[in-house]
Amino acid sequence: MKPLLLARQVSYGPARNPRLIDIDLQLAAGDRLALLGTNGAGKSTLLQLLAGILAPAGGEVRVLGQRLDEAAPALRRHIGFLPQRVPAYTELSVTENLQWAGRLRGLRQRALQTAIERVLQALQLDKVRARLAGSLSQGMLQRLGLAQAVLHEPDILILDEPTAGLDPLQTEQIRELLGTLSANCSLILATHLLDDVQRLCDRVILLDGGRKAAEHTVTADTDLLAHFRRPMSDAGAGA
């Protein structure tokens, strides 16, 4: 069976100072993968490569067996991406932002309206649907970003630090929402928070200096902190 998402020997950046070197990963339907690493480890760059925002300098990214590049933009319809900064227009309302995100992803008229109502309910945004995105709290803005990412029911959901900058209550609410939203798709999540990994993912890749340092399965008993402290010595080892 073809993997949903496959990255093979992916590198990015100038040859003298690459930001990512020879990353391999694959994601099957229903997988929940976390990317863990220190600041500058390359997590966000890797996510942008997997989402088709950046093109790799070496290697390839494949979605459903097809190469993800500018020649096949339609493949990006299978992906929902939430970057670190929510890509919302502050001068437009929540509904207008969702309408535009949906149109960009190819949703039209009735299907778009139905999808908007669905995500407004699922992410508990219906009470603020008419408010300008610029007037939302950080937690609500993060929900709007998530709504934009799942609006078109993607097969792969890619999230870059979805709980960053949130208070503990908002973090908990977003985690619960993510648990629900990712039930019908595969998930890749970059985070600093070990709790996010433990609660939401079944596999973790540790990145260090732009390289894949280790990959582990995650269970309730996995000591993520120990793995995180010695990623390089664990390279290639299983859990």
Binding site: A51, P73, F81, P87
Partner: protein, 246 residues
Amino acid sequence: MIGAIALHESRRLRAGMMFWLLLAFGQLIIAWLSFAQLETFAGIAPQLKASGATLGAMDLVITPTFNSLVLLLLLCAPLLAMGSLAGEVHSGRIALWLSSPVSGTQIVLGKALGLWLATLPLLLSGILTLAALGFAADLDWPRFALAATSLLLFGLWLGCITLFLSSLFDHPAAALAASYGILLFLWLLDSLSGTDAPWYWFALLPHIEPSLSGLLRSQDIVFFVATAGAALLLSSYALARRRGDA
């Protein structure tokens, strides 16, 4: 999709304060200029008639006001266009665009059209204000139509150029400064060099003034089509470079 992007871009601009300020400022300037030109024309019209001169409202009111509208557009368009791509990068929204199943060419064409749509209210209000003179004076309507069409197409050209300059920067303010610098340079180029200088072909005024007086020349069409086409191609290239594709 290009149409949807154009409508979104125009809507985004209309949702901001800048659009309405520019529209209000533009209306004020157009009204003031039109009346000033009209007053001058009314003052000298009897003498023109007595001397048998062929100059009319088109030459003495419409064309000078259209020329002023070009200058107004050169001031306003960079303010509207500065955020088109540089603003998307600066705010992080570029991720939404580049992760969507939309090609770079569609984004560029849609945004250029959107910028044009956003300048249309200003242009149309100016054109309609001047067309209203037709109730009081004899206008050469075919010349007027050609000049008005040229002005509208100049708005589209300006959208392409300012979009390209916006694609080069990560911050709208940098895009704005570059746009003013380049457009001012093109505006002044004919007065900085002789007509035989090789770069004279790039001077803006010698290309726009004839069509605003109702004279359509193939060399002007070539100038505008070639420079707008190059700007769109380079904008697509700049977007591809952001991906790391080029």
